[in-house]
C-alpha cells in the first residue's frame, strides 16, 4: 500500500487555476417565514481550505445549501469566478452547480441505500467532467478508505454509520470536484479515522488544488488543515480570519476550547 501511495503522489492531476473562487455577498436566507441567515458574506478562494464554525442551529448548513442552490437566498448574490469568467450561481439549479464542479457532501449523507458501495462510488462520477478520472479517483478512494474496498459489494444502506460517512465523502471525491463543500465530515467517525480523514483531505487538496469549504465542529482537527475560518452566530458572520487569529478568538475559546 505504501508503495502505491507514493507512486500515486508523484502522479499529480492538477489543472490550471486562474483565481477560481466563490463569492457570497450579503445574503439573507431561510425556510418559509423563518429567516436563518442575515446578510452573510464570505468568499472561497482557489486552493484554500475554509472552515465554518458555530454551534448547533446557527446556519452553517444553510449557508452551504445556499451555495449549492438548495436554499434560495431572499437577498444578496452568490457567484463563481471560473477561469476568469464570472458565473452567477444565484437561482441556478443544484444539478447545474454540480456540473461546474462544486460538489457537496451533505449532512445526513444521502447515499443510494440499495446500491452497492461500488455503484455509489461510480454514481459519483456521473457528471461528464469526472468520467475521465474514474480509475484514478477510485484508486484514491479505496486507498484512503480501505474499508470501502473490503465492502465494495455491500449495499450502502447496511453499512455502519461511520462507514456511510466515509462513503459519502469518497463519492464526492469521485465527482472530481473543483470546490468541495463538506458538511461535518468527521461526524460519526472514530478518532483514528478523523485524523486520517483530515490527512486525506489535505492530501487530496494538495494534489488536486482543490478548494474546500467545510462546516466542522472538531476544531482541533479542522484547524490542522484549514487556512481560514468563519464563525457564524445566529445567522451572522461573527468573525472571519485565518487560522492563527481563529485560535485566539473568544468565541472559539467559548465554544470549542472551553474547559
Amino acid at each position: 500500500m505504501g508503495a502505491r501511495a507514493t507512486s500515486l503522489k508523484t502522479l499529480k492531476w492538477k489543472r490550471p487555476t486562474l483565481g477560481n473562487r466563490i463569492v457570497v455577498e450579503n445574503i439573507d436566507a431561510g425556510y418559509g417565514a423563518v429567516n436563518v441567515l442575515h446578510g452573510v458574506s464570505m468568499e472561497l478562494n482557489a486552493g484554500e481550505t475554509v472552515v465554518l464554525l458555530g454551534t448547533n442551529g446557527n446556519g452553517k448548513s444553510t449557508l452551504i445549501k445556499c451555495i449549492m442552490g438548495l436554499v434560495r437566498p431572499s437577498r444578496g448574490r452568490i457567484a463563481m469566478e471560473l477561469d476568469g469568467e464570472t458565473i452567477e450561481l444565484t437561482g441556478k439549479r443544484l444539478e447545474d452547480i454540480v456540473n461546474y464542479g462544486i460538489i457537496l457532501v451533505p449532512e445526513g449523507r444521502h447515499l443510494f441505500p440499495k446500491l452497492t458501495v461500488r455503484e455509489n462510488l461510480l454514481m459519483g462520477a456521473f457528471r461528464m467532467a469526472a468520467r475521465p478520472h474514474i480509475a484514478r479517483n477510485l484508486e484514491f478512494c479505496f486507498e484512503a478508505f480501505p474499508r470501502l474496498l473490503e465492502r465494495k459489494n455491500q449495499p450502502a444502506g447496511s453499512m455502519s454509520g461511520g462507514e456511510q460517512q466515509m462513503l459519502a465523502l469518497a463519492r464526492a471525491i469521485m465527482s472530481h470536484p473543483r470546490f468541495l463543500l463538506v458538511d461535518e465530515p468527521s461526524v460519526g467517525l472514530a478518532p483514528i479515522l478523523v485524523a486520517h480523514l483530515f490527512e486525506k483531505i489535505k492530501e487530496l487538496k494538495e494534489r488536486r488544488d482543490l478548494t474546500i469549504l467545510m462546516a466542522e465542529q472538531n476544531f482541533n482537527q479542522a484547524t490542522k488543515i484549514a487556512d481560514r475560518g468563519y464563525i457564524i452566530v445566529e445567522g451572522k458572520i461573527a468573525f472571519a480570519g485565518d487560522r492563527s487569529l481563529l485560535r485566539e478568538h473568544h468565541l472559539v475559546k467559548k465554544y470549542y476550547l472551553g474547559a
Binding site: R93, E95, N99, H110, K114, L115, N120, M123, R127
Partner: protein, 290 residues
C-alpha cells in the same frame, strides 16, 4: 400420464411462455422497480402497442415484430410525455406513489376507452408467414408463435440489463428513486433520468405488444388479465432486478405449464400465485431482491 415427452415439452413451453411474460413485465420492473411509480396501466399500454402493431401489420403488411420495434420510438416519446405529466402533478408535490396508482388506473381507463372508441371491441390478430409453424427438435416441438416472443423477450431483457448495469445513466436510473437529492448531488437531473426510464418502460410495452398479439387475439380491455401477473413477476423477481424478472417469469411459466399438463389447467393460476406467496414468505424481498 407422466411421460418424458410430455414433461420435456411442458418445461419447454413454460420457458417459452416465461420469456414472453418477462417481456410484458419488463416495463413494470423498470418503472415500478426502480422509479417506484405504480404504473398499473402498463398492461394497457402493452395492448396499445398490440394495436399499433396490428395497424401496421394489417395496412402495410409489416412483420409484427419489426412493427413493434419500430413503434418503440414513438412509445418512448409517449412515455416521456406521460412521465412529465405525472411529475408535474404528483412527484413535484411529493405525493406518495399510492396516489399515482389512482392516476394510472385512470389512465388505464382512458387508454381502454380510446381503443374502444377508435377500434371497437372486436378481437384483432396479426398475420406473419411463420405463425402457425413449428420446429421439431427430437421430442420437443417449438411453435414459432412462442419461440419468437421468447427470443425477442429475452433479447430485450438482456439489452435493458446491459444498459442498466453498464452505463452511468442506467445506474442513475437504479438509484434515482432511492434518494433523488443524492442523484442531484451527483449532477444528475432526476426528472430527466426518470423520463428516460419511463420512456424505456414504455418502449418495452410496444415490443411486448407485438409479442402479445402474436400469441393471442387482443381486445381493448385485455390488459387487465395481465395486471396481476406482471406485478407478481416483478415482485417475485425482486424489485428492480431485470434478471430477476426473467427468472421469475420463467419460473411461473414452467409452474403453470406443468400444472396445466399434469394436473389441472384450472388450478394453474392458484399454483403460480401460490408459489409467489410461498417465495415471499421465505424471501420477503423476492428472488433477487436486495
Amino acid at each position: 400420464m407422466l411421460t418424458l415427452d410430455l414433461f420435456v415439452n411442458a418445461i419447454v413451453a413454460g420457458i417459452l411462455l416465461g420469456g414472453f411474460l418477462a417481456a410484458v413485465s419488463l416495463g413494470i420492473s423498470i418503472v415500478f422497480g426502480y422509479l417506484d411509480i405504480v404504473n398499473i396501466a402498463h398492461p394497457a399500454f402493452v395492448v396499445l402497442g398490440s394495436y399499433a402493431v396490428y395497424i401496421l401489420n394489417s395496412t402495410f403488411g409489416i412483420d409484427p415484430l419489426l412493427a413493434g420495434i419500430a413503434m418503440a420510438a414513438p412509445f418512448y416519446l409517449l412515455g416521456i410525455l406521460i412521465y412529465r405529466f405525472y411529475y408535474a402533478f404528483f412527484e413535484r408535490h411529493g405525493a406518495e406513489s399510492l396516489r399515482g396508482l389512482v392516476f394510472f388506473f385512470g389512465i388505464l381507463f382512458l387508454v381502454e376507452v380510446g381503443l374502444n372508441i377508435t377500434y371497437g371491441v372486436d378481437y384483432r390478430m396479426v398475420n406473419a408467414f411463420y405463425l402457425g409453424k413449428s420446429i421439431e427438435i427430437g421430442l420437443v416441438g417449438i411453435p414459432y408463435r412462442l419461440l419468437i416472443p421468447f427470443v425477442a423477450g429475452v433479447a430485450m431483457i438482456f439489452i435493458v440489463y446491459l444498459y442498466l448495469s453498464k452505463t452511468f445513466y442506467g445506474m442513475a436510473i437504479q438509484g434515482v428513486a432511492q434518494d433523488s437529492l443524492a442523484a442531484r448531488l451527483m449532477g444528475a437531473d432526476p426528472i430527466k433520468i426518470k423520463s428516460v426510464a419511463f420512456g424505456m418502460g414504455m418502449a418495452t410495452a410496444s415490443v411486448a405488444g407485438a409479442l402479445l398479439i402474436m400469441i393471442s387475439p387482443i381486445e381493448p380491455s385485455m390488459g387487465r388479465e395481465y395486471i396481476g401477473r406482471v406485478f407478481a413477476i416483478a415482485v417475485l423477481g425482486g424489485m428492480g432486478s431485470v434478471v430477476g424478472t426473467l427468472v421469475a417469469a420463467v419460473l411461473l411459466g414452467i409452474a403453470e405449464s406443468l400444472t396445466s399438463t399434469f394436473y389441472s389447467p384450472s388450478m394453474a393460476p392458484a399454483v403460480s400465485f401460490g408459489i409467489l406467496l410461498l417465495v415471499l414468505a421465505i424471501r420477503p424481498s423476492g428472488i433477487f431482491g436486495r
